[in-house]
């Protein structure tokens, strides 16, 4: 259970606004957050994980304010900086985080084997390829009894065979999931998932991931729109069933924005 109310995050000396009045709630569901690179997707997950300072607004996880959360084992995340507690190989990292979550590591070892990642166990996390690192972080966050899982670009740099298995693992998981992606091809497979768009730190939605094939993006405000997005690129609107450019036809959000702009 996740509640975000009017969350603002600014970074760096320039105080660049990365999250802009973000409000979001997740109750017994899975949601995908889609947006171009640099739109604030990862920052949103980091804010929930407590890895960035929230300037204003509030975040509640399982009904508790983020600032007061301690030893809450029902949330997990695939963010790589979470798994750098000390200099360890992959096997020890898995073992340690299993112990810290109070879980048995047998289940994840089975998943590692199933994903043909056994050869990574003796290596340091930084010695793994980007895709292998991502898979290990995905699997650590997905196994066990977590009730809310934060997945940041879980398919990035993952080969097609593992991508299929990972999709099954994510879609069949019983937990609430908040998943970031900038790829559209995966959305059609996310039946029953909520869908949000994020652009320049502002969240738009909620839509249904499975209806992405019926969604269109238009330059300017069209009469039958279901959402209007004011961005630095201009104003766009989203419409159902008809419009300028089909969202599902685009490979990812970056190309979509370039095309429509």
């Amino acid at each position: 259970m996740l509640e975000m109310n009017n969350v603002n995050v600014r970074y760096g000396k320039s105080r660049k606004q990365v999250l802009n009045d973000v409000s979001l709630s997740v109750h017994s569901e899975k949601i995908a957050i889609v947006g171009p690179n640099g739109s604030g997707k990862t920052t949103l997950l980091k804010a929930v994980a407590g890895l960035v300072d929230v300037n204003s607004g509030n975040i509640k996880v399982f009904g508790k304010d983020l600032s007061s959360i301690r030893n809450e084992v029902r949330l997990s995340a695939n963010l790589p900086e979470v798994y750098r507690l000390m200099r360890m190989n992959t096997a020890d990292t898995i073992q340690l985080y299993s112990e810290l979550k109070g879980q048995d590591s047998k289940e994840i070892m089975g998943l590692i084997d199933d994903m043909d990642l056994s050869d990574t166990l003796g290596k340091m996390l930084y010695e793994l390829s980007t895709g292998q690192q991502k898979m290990i972080c995905n699997l650590i966050s997905l196994y066990g009894s977590s009730k809310l899982i934060l997945l940041d670009e879980p398919f990035e740099s993952i080969d097609m065979r593992r991508r299929m298995k990972l999709t099954d693992l994510i879609t069949n998981h019983g937990a609430e999931i908040v998943m970031n992606t900038h790829e559209f091809d995966i959305l059609a497979r996310l039946k029953g998932w909520g869908l949000y768009f994020i652009i320049e730190g502002r969240v738009f939605g909620k839509f249904q991931a499975s209806e992405v094939k019926n969604l269109y993006i238009n330059k300017g405000v069209v009469p039958n729109n279901i959402a209007v997005m004011d961005t630095a690129f201009g104003t766009f609107s989203i419409s159902r069933n008809e419009g300028e450019i089909s969202i599902s036809a685009a490979r990812n959000f970056n190309s979509l924005l370039n095309e429509v702009a």
């Binding site: 980091k46 994980a49 407590g50 890895l51 960035v52 300072d53 983020l66 959360i69 301690r70 030893n71 809450e72 084992v73 949330l75 997990s76 995340a77 963010l79 900086e81 979470v82 798994y83 750098r84 507690l85 000390m86 200099r87 360890m88 020890d92 340690l96 985080y97 112990e99 810290l100 979550k101 109070g102």
Partner: protein, 269 residues
């Protein structure tokens, strides 16, 4: 049993072995065979000389663990913030586990320094310079390791949370700089009694010297043996214990509020 991961990680750290052990062994060799001509050629002086070298190198050896620990906390700042929030890990558990691990490493390093000092200085002097209280040397090595963890954690979290990570390299070397400052000034130029007693660095090195030599350590080691005042080890033990308790409390208060920072902030060039 998170200690096993800390200990394994530290024992597999080649930098720690290089600077914390092998570099110290090099200086013990120099002490045994090169810097030996400035005192009377009597066993009692040879033994005090060996004990002082052991005390200094034992102290400096454990201070190198502080540098490694600083980097471990710096690289793990986000992981710690996350782990305290979303795993069963607690700041008190982190501090006690790391203190225990650093203490064990300190004890191991102290044991290595002790054995090496015995062989090198005995061979170099022609006397059999057996350490008087070797088990106390190990215990003091353990305490020194735990102390260095607390010092490193306090300094690095202050930089991480409040002063910025641009100076993280300097911050990681502060324990070693203080170690060299107090260690060398005491045995080479002498320090006022209040500093000798009040500084945890001199407390550690003096207790190591005492454990090897078996006699009370002169307040001024440049004076002939028996001609000056001696250091009271009981007072040093009490002061060291007070330092450790105060630092453990400070470390706990700081670690529990550790802020996640990008490790890129520490990039120098």
């Amino acid at each position: 049993m998170i200690e096993k991961y800390f200990i394994k990680s530290m024992l597999k750290n080649r930098n720690l072995w290089g600077w914390g052990v092998f570099f110290m062994l090099f200086w013990l060799f120099m002490g045994a065979f090169v810097f030996t001509s400035a005192f009377p050629k009597q066993e009692v002086y040879y033994k005090l000389n060996a004990a002082i070298w052991f005390g200094l190198m034992g102290l400096i050896s454990t201070s190198t663990t502080a540098t490694s620990i600083s980097y471990s906390i710096y690289y793990g700042n986000s992981s710690l913030a996350y782990a305290f929030r979303y795993t069963t890990f607690k700041p008190s558990g982190y501090i006690s586990s790391f203190m225990l691990s650093a203490g064990i490493i300190g004890g191991v390093f102290s044991g290595i320094m002790l054995v090496t000092t015995f062989f090198l200085f005995s061979y170099g002097s022609g006397y059999t310079l057996i350490p008087k209280f070797p088990y106390i040397s190990i215990v003091i090595g353990f305490v020194a390791g735990a102390f260095m963890f607390l010092l490193a954690s306090i300094i690095i979290v202050i930089f991480n949370n409040y002063l910025g990570l641009r100076n993280v390299t300097f911050a990681s070397f502060i324990p070693m700089i203080l170690t060299y400052l107090f260690g060398f000034t005491q045995f080479n130029s002498g320090l006022p009694a209040y500093i000798v007693y009040g500084s945890p660095f001199t407390d550690i090195s003096d207790l190591l010297v005492l454990s090897y030599d078996g006699h009370l350590v002169p307040l001024n080691t440049n004076e002939p043996i028996g001609s000056g005042n001696h250091i009271n080890p009981e007072i040093q033990v009490v002061i060291l214990a007070i330092w450790i308790i105060i630092m453990a409390i400070c470390s706990f208060l700081l670690i529990k509020k550790i802020k996640p920072r990008s490790i890129e902030e520490g990039r120098q060039v």
